[in-house]
């Protein structure tokens, strides 16, 4: 049973995405740590309300970042500055990013190794069951993380020389977390289908 040549393209794309994910995770980790030691470099690096995305387009915010809490409050600036975040906020952001990116990497790794195992007929059905079980676990973790973050108020704390300010995210995006639940259901159904296929294959193999 040959690997279809059409599978080679998505495998290459996934491998590229995996490399980009590793680089992204490393850069974010470095930025979170480095912003504590050299905050001036990160004056124009902003986060969105949920603390997930970095915005390098400073024209959207004040051209000169506020130096104090009173200045921040007076100008009505709503931006979230990376170099003003407290350690606990940075740690929470990093942990969430680490969990999500690691799970994505594991899912991509499973898909790549599974596609390369579809070369012999006998190994296909054996690897199917194991791969789908692992994928179910990883997607389940993703759903849990997404669900918990969705229902919890994401508290971002910024520290200025003259005080601390808390920003709460009041958006509750439960719907977006359910896409992982739907994916999990699809995986569970596929897993059962392939398990049944494995059983039928064994029966056919033992038909003389």
């Amino acid at each position: 049973m040959k690997t279809h040549s059409i599978l080679k393209v998505p495998v290459i794309i996934i491998k590229i995405v995996m490399v980009i994910t590793i680089i992204t995770g490393t850069l974010i980790t470095f930025s979170l740590i480095h912003s504590g030691y050299s905050p001036a470099i990160y004056n124009k690096v902003l986060l969105n309300d949920r603390g997930f995305e970095m915005d390098f387009n400073y024209s959207k915010s004040n051209p000169i970042p506020p130096e104090s809490l009173s200045e921040y409050t007076e100008t009505g600036d709503n931006a979230i500055y990376l170099n003003k975040l407290t350690f606990s906020t940075k740690l929470r952001i990093w942990l969430q990013m680490a969990f999500v990116l690691t799970t994505y990497m594991l899912i991509m790794w499973e898909l790549v190794s599974f596609s390369s195992s579809i070369k012999t007929y006998s190994s296909f059905f054996v690897n199917c069951t194991k791969t789908f079980k692992r994928l179910e676990i990883y997607v389940g973790i993703l759903f849990l993380i997404s669900f918990i973050v969705s229902i919890a108020n994401f508290n971002i704390t910024m520290k200025f020389p003259d005080g601390v300010i808390h920003k709460f995210n009041s958006d509750i995006e439960l719907v977006s977390s359910f896409r992982y639940l739907i994916f999990l259901f699809v995986l569970m159904i596929l897993s059962r289908v392939f398990k049944e296929g494995e059983r039928m294959k064994n029966e056919i193999d033992l038909t003389i």
Binding site: N202, E203, L206, T207, I208
Partner: protein
């Protein structure tokens, strides 16, 4: 499974070895061994036909049903 395959009994009666039988009916010794040791899940009529022809017997000589 309650179906017993008595292939070894018939082979002994006809004094034919596994390899000789496999050559006659063109089935691999491995598959015949699976059949002989009651590990097979199913048997095709065509295979049963070839075995009965080679051993000059009836299907009931090869297959037996034992309850429990």
């Amino acid at each position: 499974m309650a179906i017993i395959v008595n292939l070894d009994v018939m082979m002994a009666k006809r004094k034919i070895s596994l390899s000789q039988l496999s050559e006659r009916i063109n089935i691999t010794p491995a598959n015949l061994s699976i059949l002989k040791t009651n590990k097979a899940k199913a048997i095709r009529f065509s295979t049963l036909d070839l075995i009965c022809e080679a051993l000059d017997c009836q299907p009931s000589d090869i297959l037996e049903y034992k309850e429990g």
